[in-house]
Amino acid sequence: MGFELAEILPALPEIILSVVALVLVLVAAYGGDGAANARRVAHLTLAGIVLAALALLSMSSEQSTAFGGMFRGDAFADYMKLLVLMGSFAAVFMSVTPLEHDDINKPEFSLLVLLALVGMMLMISANDLMSLYMAVELQSLPLYVVAAMRTNSLRSSEAGLKYFLLGALSSGMLLYGASLVYGFAGTTSFAGIAAAVAETDLPAGFIIGMVFMITGIAFKVSAAPFHMWTPDVYEGSPSPVTALFAIAPKVAAIALMLRLTYGAFGSIALEWSQVIMALSVASMVVGALGAIMQSDIKRMMAYSSIAHMGYALAGLAAGTHEGAFGVMIYMTSYVFMGAGTFAIILLMRRDGQSTTRITDLRGLSKTQPLFALGLMVMMFSMAGIPPLAGFFGKWYVFLAAVNAGLVPLAVIGVVMSVVGAFYYLRIIKIMYFEDSEAPLDQDVPLANKLVLGVSMAVILLFFAGLNSVIDAANTATIALMAPF
């Protein structure tokens, strides 16, 4: 069997990241101890991500497969991978200084993130049950470790353990579902499953397998009622790790959900859209109501992300072209809102110690007006107030829902967004309407400024560039729905 370069070329960005990761293992091991080495590894990681992004952009986005059909490259993969790369870049970029402050600056952090990133990219390109499961595990295992990075903190260890146990449970469900699907379809490739689905009556076992698989991925998406781990893990993990969790893995998991539902189960949208609808409603309700009582900003962001996933799934529940399109626009706005918000959460330190109580933001508008403005923009955008980016995400997912006749789902969604607006407004209230006791530390790393600045610009000017986003997302959706 001859080796063809063309056979693996579509996976070039993943290959670049893997090679960089392997090289960095050596750098981490032999580069000496201490902060300098950790910093070096982090910077090389960033360089690797940029390199992968450049490779991604320079490749043609035509449909292609690699590794014997296990891997699929197309415009959809490019779109979502770019989002994941941007999200991870922001997270690693902003982690360097805080990790040093918290004295957990190990080179392993960036390295593990890089490995998880490879997993996320492979998830997006998964085209076979085997590669799907492998990618999910490759993404999950490094993240379990980074959640427990702060080894001297009980909460961090607890977060890691919780994440691991529930993650393992979800993997088990995913695997069990995959085995049922394989058993009834007789093949592991998405194309084969799609063909099997199209031609025969579906046995109940197949549907059960499909539901199990969706459940397994719902854990990764942190959609209610499989969200229990999210608040604890968000709160317990070191803040830079939370910033990572909040953005990139969510995008990858949603992309995987799209791949699986539209790719393998595309012709039985009626069967899975009910499951997704239930997940969507539960997430919107749990996210909106759960966040109200939180006093820790990271816990609040956890519930907020649950609610956001609920909105994204509302688009998916439509099961149409518009649905997938809406999800993509939503995730685009989500990446920038998340990055911008965490740029400020990472700044929250007092006397060098990181703090995460919401009340610590008191009077931020007076001590650091620009950051307060930035967080306010993020909060209004998350609440879905026009003309900010978050509104357009909601517009397109609910448009898809209404278009598919799911008006009640849209009504529940918008009503829950009003409930959600309450806790976003609370942050603004604390920053703008209340006076501070002790101001937060004033020294701000350049990384946070840059990430916040870029996110703000994107969120504020989203409406102006919306047309090109729509074009790209449209192409991606067509690619997603194209037959194999």
């Binding site: 107030i385 517009w395 609910f398 448009l399 967004s417 209230k429 309407f433 729509i470």
Partner: protein, 501 residues
């Protein structure tokens, strides 16, 4: 040459240019505050001057939209950047550009902290208000309509009174809940018609069952904005806590967004449902007119009383709109413009004495006439305009609404007229308690005379109220053709409605 200028875009976004300028100016606190005030005033005054171009160039005989601009925004999705004005929206645009500089002038001394941020909020607010009135695309309309919440939330919450947080939240969430229900309807209309272009939607026939739901969704939003009883409770709180200028704009322009919405969307797009629901609107409006007038009588806070009187006056507006005849709708339009001027002036009247005594309790005042005679003249004039004295703009609006209501239903006119009597009662009583009698305290005795700045706000408002009072045709002519178009639409569907019965 001037015809080719995108004049509406210029007016809409000119305040934002001022915001950019305000963001870059530097200096110590005092200089910054002074410069911010001046920049905001000049930018908004200049915006007003430019908006006069619309007034001069407006052809009141022409049907359709004028100064129309349409550009590609979202490809061929049926959503475009589309602006234009007709006889319904043009007066509101001018009302917005006219009141904003006055509001900025009104906050010249009373706002002392974060002046720059305050002025930025006001200029952003102005852009959103104008943009909302000139939008001819439903998505654009919605963007502006809801974005108004952001600056207003901050104005109430940062620069408001003691219960500002509660008031700001109530204002925001109440209005948002109404708006998002409208959003679902906007989506449904877009799905049904394939476009968000307002003129196209007006000629699109929505199925009757669908119209009912769409009407209710839009009603949820506009009724909160107007505000109609029983969803008016955010208004007194918001008004009491907002700074004077915030109240002026809130009462002067933001309340009109609801009435404008009814005329722009509900009547032309859901004629069947509008006829069907008109009795419900009448009942709610009559309750508003009578009940809130009685509530106003019981208030001890001046601002709260004027806030309740706004609810009552806006009740007349909804009666006029849904009586669906020429006099009714023209009266409602007139009443909205008139109320915009008069209520802004009345809130400023409260602001003037509040700046001196720092209380709004009616019982703290008395005998102000002796101390501030000129102020007493302005206050009395505006109070009488609010009551509807002939010769002021308030009279024309109320008169026309009553004529319209009489044609629709005589009982309706009877109840509405009761509200007029009650309105006169509480306003005159307020005036007597605050202005006449003995000077009650040394603080009142020592109140300063009016400043030039305050004359600068009162005089233009007074002139306009008087002008529209003695020459109402100036306004009625402008609106006539557009109202006729709405009515023609309604007649067509009304015939169909009768046939269906």
């Amino acid at each position: 040459m001037i015809d080719n200028w995108p004049i509406l875009s210029i007016i809409t976004f000119m305040p934002l240019a001022g915001v950019l300028f305000l963001l870059i100016i530097r200096g110590d606190d005092d200089t910054l505050a002074r410069n911010a005030r001046n920049v905001a005033l000049w930018v908004s005054a200049f915006t007003f001057l430019v908006s006069l171009v619309i007034l001069i160039g407006f052809d009141s005989g022409a049907s359709g939209y004028q100064f129309e601009e349409q550009r590609v925004w979202l490809g061929d999705t049926g959503i475009s950047y589309h602006m234009g004005v007709d006889g319904i929206s043009m007066p509101f645009v001018l009302l917005s550009t006219f009141l904003t500089p006055l509001a900025i002038l009104a906050s010249w001394q009373s706002i002392t902290s974060h002046v720059r941020e305050y002025m930025i909020a006001f200029l952003v607010l102005e852009t959103m208000m104008i943009g909302m009135f000139v939008s001819l695309d439903m998505l654009m309309f919605y963007l502006f309509f809801e974005a108004v919440l952001i600056p207003m939330f901050l104005i109430i919450g940062v620069w408001g009174g003691p219960r500002r947080v509660y008031a700001a939240f109530k204002f925001f969430l109440y209005t948002l809940l109404g708006s998002v229900l409208m959003l679902v309807c906007v989506l449904a209309m877009y799905v049904d018609a394939g476009t968000t272009n307002i003129p196209q939607l007006m000629s699109h026939e929505f199925a009757r069952g669908m119209q009912t739901w769409l009407f209710l969704g839009f009603f949820a939003s506009f009724a909160v904005k107007v505000p109609m009883w029983p969803v008016h409770t955010w208004l007194p709180d918001a008004h009491v806590e907002a700074p004077t200028a915030g109240s002026m704009i809130l009462a002067g322009v933001l309340l009109k967004m609801g009435g404008y919405g009814f005329l722009r969307f509900s009547l032309p797009m859901f004629p069947f449902a509008s006829e069907f629901f008109a009795p419900m609107v009448f009942v709610l409006s009559v309750v508003a007119v009578i009940y809130t007038s009685l509530v106003a009588l019981a208030q001890s806070d001046m601002k709260k009383m004027i806030a309740y009187s706004s609810v009552a006056h806006m009740g007349f507006v909804t009666i006029g709109i849904f009586s669906m005849n020429e006099q009714g709708i023209a009266g409602a339009m007139f009443q909205m413009i008139s109320h915009g001027l008069v209520s802004a002036a009345l809130f400023f009247c409260v602001g003037v004495v509040y700046d001196r005594l720092h209380t709004r309790e009616i019982s703290a005042y008395g005998g102000v006439t002796a101390v501030m005679p000129r102020y007493a003249v302005f206050f009395m004039f505006m109070m009488l305009a609010s009551v509807g004295l002939p010769g002021t703009s308030g009279f024309v609006g109320e008169m026309l609404v009553l004529v319209g209501a009489w044609q629709a239903n005589t009982w309706l006119a009877l109840f509405a007229a009761t509200g007029l009597v009650l309105g006169a009662t509480y306003m005159l009583w307020l005036y007597r308690r605050v202005m006449f009698g003995q000077v009650v305290s040394a603080e009142v005795q020592s109140m300063e005379r009016m400043q030039m700045r305050e004359y600068g706000i009162f005089v233009p408002l007074t002139i306009l109220v008087l002008f529209f009072g003695v020459y109402p045709m100036a306004l009625l002519d402008v609106m006539d053709v557009s109202i006729q178009i709405i009515l023609d639409d309604l007649t067509v569907s009304g015939v169909a409605l009768l046939a269906a019965r």
